[in-house]
């Protein structure tokens, strides 16, 4: 199963004016990995599909603020 968020550590200079913000997150949502969607994928119930914005759990990639978590670099 692919992860929908990755982290990288940018170069940090000893001369930077502000305290470093590292690692930095970027999103790699599910559609990057699915390829041509296979038939017969598991589906949400109609009600859950409306709430989630998609019928398929495999395409559901919710977003949360990566910088609010205390555990940076983990997901």
């Amino acid at each position: 199963m692919s992860t929908s968020r990755k982290w990288y550590a940018p170069y940090i200079s000893p001369l930077d004016p502000c305290p470093p913000l590292s690692p930095i997150a970027y999103e790699t949502p599910a559609q990057l990995y699915l390829g041509f969607q296979p038939q017969g994928l598991e589906q949400f119930s109609p009600f859950d599909a409306l709430v989630h914005g998609t019928l398929w759990p495999a395409l559901f990639t919710p977003y949360t603020n990566p910088y609010q978590s205390k555990k940076r670099g983990e997901f």
């Binding site: 692919s2 992860t3 990755k6 982290w7 990288y8 550590a9 940018p10 170069y11 930095i24 970027y26 999103e27 790699t28 949502p29 990057l32 990995y33």
Partner: protein
């Protein structure tokens, strides 16, 4: 920082006196999907992309400036000896009034340079935009080649078109790099 080599990336020879062709070529100079927009966009995106992709953007952005220089050479060769009357016939009368014989950053329709969407700060969004821009630049070269009957210009345009293909491939590879799960071995 950059070093400059005082030569073109690929020789530019113009065989037929056709100022009209300059009007089409200027699209790749100051158009939204032109070489200037590409160079500025890639160099600008370097700052907010994971470290392993910075070098690629740096190299390709730099090469786009070399392409820009080739386009400028073509446009200048095609217009420098034209009379005002010939420029007018070629649809470059407005250009002549505004800019004389200088090359200028606008598109084939005469609209001033506009970078369009440029940089989003999201690595995947930026790289997909770059891939799309390379494919659009490739097709622009195709349409210009279709309009041109100068085999020598078309030779250089064919080179530039092929470079767009290579850049598109490299950006696609960059997306694959960013999609990789961390701590996993890469298999070629």
């Amino acid at each position: 920082m950059w070093y400059y080599e005082k030569k073109l990336q690929y020789p530019v020879r113009v065989g037929i006196c056709s100022p009209k062709l300059a009007k089409f070529l200027i699209e790749q100079y100051g158009g939204t999907d032109g070489e200037l927009a590409a160079a500025l966009r890639y160099l600008n995106q370097r700052y907010t992309i994971p470290s392993r992709v910075i070098g690629l953007l740096n190299d390709i952005g730099t090469e786009e400036f070399a392409h820009l220089e080739m386009i400028a050479t073509m446009v200048y060769k095609l217009t420098k000896d034209a009379t005002p009357e010939q420029l007018k016939e070629a649809g470059l009368g407005d250009h002549y009034v505004d800019h004389g014989k200088s090359v200028y950053y606008h598109n084939a329709a005469g609209q001033k340079f506009d970078m369009g969407l440029q940089s989003k700060g999201d690595p995947i969004a930026d790289l997909y935009e770059d891939i799309a821009a390379e494919e659009k630049a490739r097709s622009t070269y195709q349409w210009i080649i279709n309009l041109s009957d100068d085999p020598q210009i078309n030779d250089a345009l064919g080179f530039l078109r092929e470079r767009e293909n290579v850049h598109s491939q490299r950006f696609r590879e960059a997306v694959e790099l960013l999609k990789e799960e961390q701590g996993q071995k890469r298999v070629f």
